[in-house]
């Protein structure tokens, strides 16, 4: 479940990142279509919120929130690192995290 929280945070950040013009262009060499922007950002924020819920479900709200903030920081820094040196892998990892999160949450 903690792993699910991490995956959700990473997937959420990836989606938010893709929802920004600069990073979308960097990855796909074309402008971010307007109809993609809202879903990406919506998905991103929902994933981050779910990540908090997942963390709180394991650890309780006070401990879970602290853990969630730590998870967010690490997931974000990891994403930036990947994005810079392995942009394709960053995207794949984001997709895999999004897929893995519900599985991990059920387990």
């Amino acid at each position: 479940m903690t792993l699910a929280a991490f995956c959700l945070a990473y997937a959420g950040f990836s989606a938010l990142c893709l929802g920004m013009d600069r990073h979308y262009e960097d990855l796909f060499d074309r402008a971010l279509p307007r109809r993609h922007r809202l879903p990406l950002r919506l998905f991103g924020w929902i994933a981050l919120a779910l990540s908090l819920c997942a963390s709180a479900a394991v650890w309780g709200w006070s401990y879970g929130t602290v853990e969630w903030i730590g998870i967010l920081s690490i997931a974000g820094l990891l994403l930036i690192w990947f994005l810079t040196f392995r942009p394709r892998a960053a995207l794949t990892a984001g997709g895999l995290c999004a897929l893995a999160a519900p599985v991990l949450a059920v387990l």
């Binding site: 903690t2 950040f13 938010l16 990142c17 920004m20 600069r22 990073h23 006070s62 401990y63 602290v66 853990e67 903030i69 730590g70 998870i71 967010l72 920081s73 690490i74 974000g76 820094l77 994403l79 930036i80 690192w81 994005l83 810079t84």
Partner: protein
Amino acid sequence: MKAKGEKAQGEEGLRQSMSWLHTWSGLIFGWVLFAMFLTGTLAFFRPEITSWMQPEIQTRPAPAAQSVAAAQRYLSEHASDATRWFITPPSDREPLIQLLYQSPKPKPGERGFVRVKLDPATGEAVTARQTRGGDFFYRFHFELETAFPWGRWLASIAGMFMLVAIISGVITHKKIFTDFFTFRPRKGGQRAWMDGHNALSVLGLPFHLMITFSGLVLFMAMLMPAGILAVYENPRQYSDDVFKAFKIAPARNEPAPLVPLAPLVAQAQEHWQGRVGRVTVNHPGDAGATVTLVRDAADGVSYGRLAPYMRFDGVTGALQEGEDELSATVRTAGVITGLHLGLFAEPLLRWLYFLVSLAGTGMVGTGLVLWIAKRRQKARPGAREAFSLRLVDALNAGTVAGLFISVAAFFWANRLLPADMPGRQLWETRAFFAVWGLSLVYAFLFQHRKWRDLLAAAAATLALVPVINALTTSRHLGVSLPAGDWVMAGFDLTCLAGALLLAWMARKAARAAKAPAKGRPAARPVAKPAVQQAVQSVAQSDMGPRQGAYEPRGDTP
């Protein structure tokens, strides 16, 4: 039109002034802050580092009640006349029983505290090599190895500068959301460092802000005593009121036997459904003795400094007073200080603490390098570098890279000094400071290769820590990994990971040092006096790690 223009100007004015504030508040205490961040990061693993530094001790924790009974046996035999006993039962992180007692007649100038560690299995004092272990990093983090109270004041002032730097940094940062995921190392120079600095700062911002603010709150009573002095007649009354668990009742000077402690511990565990973190006995053997049990800091986020407690009569064992539900104010203060200490954190969260705190260390480090990068970018190419720049750059390299070598040297000394050497813990500390000093000297002497060399030295010394461990003890990676001894294995693996990171940085630094000289031959006029040319090549190759060539336009103020 005019009003709008004025507003924009005023806004820029605020940004500009905040940028100035950020630059200078960050620089002045930058090196102290870097050291505080790095040692503080290590201090999250304080007991684990101590365990690694005393490899002779191999024991398993025993239940608290049983351990406290063993402690009582030992103390009534060895310290029956002490004014106070402090007993810390073993935990998952600290397998030993820790005792501290205050002898009634200390030597002049001493406070008379004696520390003993007991093996919970035998109830006997353990003998191991003398070392300060993780306590060194913990103490250095807020006392800077300076006499009380000056070190604490210095650390607090540095902390205040940090708080100013964080807040002014947030205001200065123009595009906090647009640049959220941006890191462009290929752009080189100031831009790359700025991106890195921003990423490390913004992503870890909740932690950085929390750790800086809560660090100051921990020293609140020292830093802002006015409120306490206005309400209380003396500071003792204040601490009795706030830290009730530490309250001391006077002795009655009539001998009376002390109640067995173990049943009280069992009673408290039952009552709290939690762990007992510390047992304090005041005036053991006196009719006025009291026994105070405090709940373990690992049991709750807010219990780091202010935890529930129970106080018993030391003769009859009757419950005198206690507090389970702390008031909202106390709990708020408890959460703030508890978050800083991180004692509540389970292994996973402790690693997150460690990593984000490392990002904070990186934030300070990149900030320091950025100061140089910004000024180099503005300087005319080929001009002789100002003394101030060389000074700051040398201090940067000597501290940012040098401190990692000092940490490794501290661990080396722990393994290489003879185990029975008198005062060896002093020499461990001396090794730390001597190596830091040597790094600074090296950084001043070898201007253009200091970054590469010091980072490479840091990587090498840190990578050799597990090797030296393997040569001097029987608890190396080959043994600790199969045995699942995660304290020893984790320490060695962390050293290796740190060495890898530093080696990567050293490689980048070496490349950056070569790049400008190779990349811009045309910029250098051919017919120049040899001396001037030499000076110029020094100035060019000495551009810090990952430094690009001169860029005439910088897009930051």
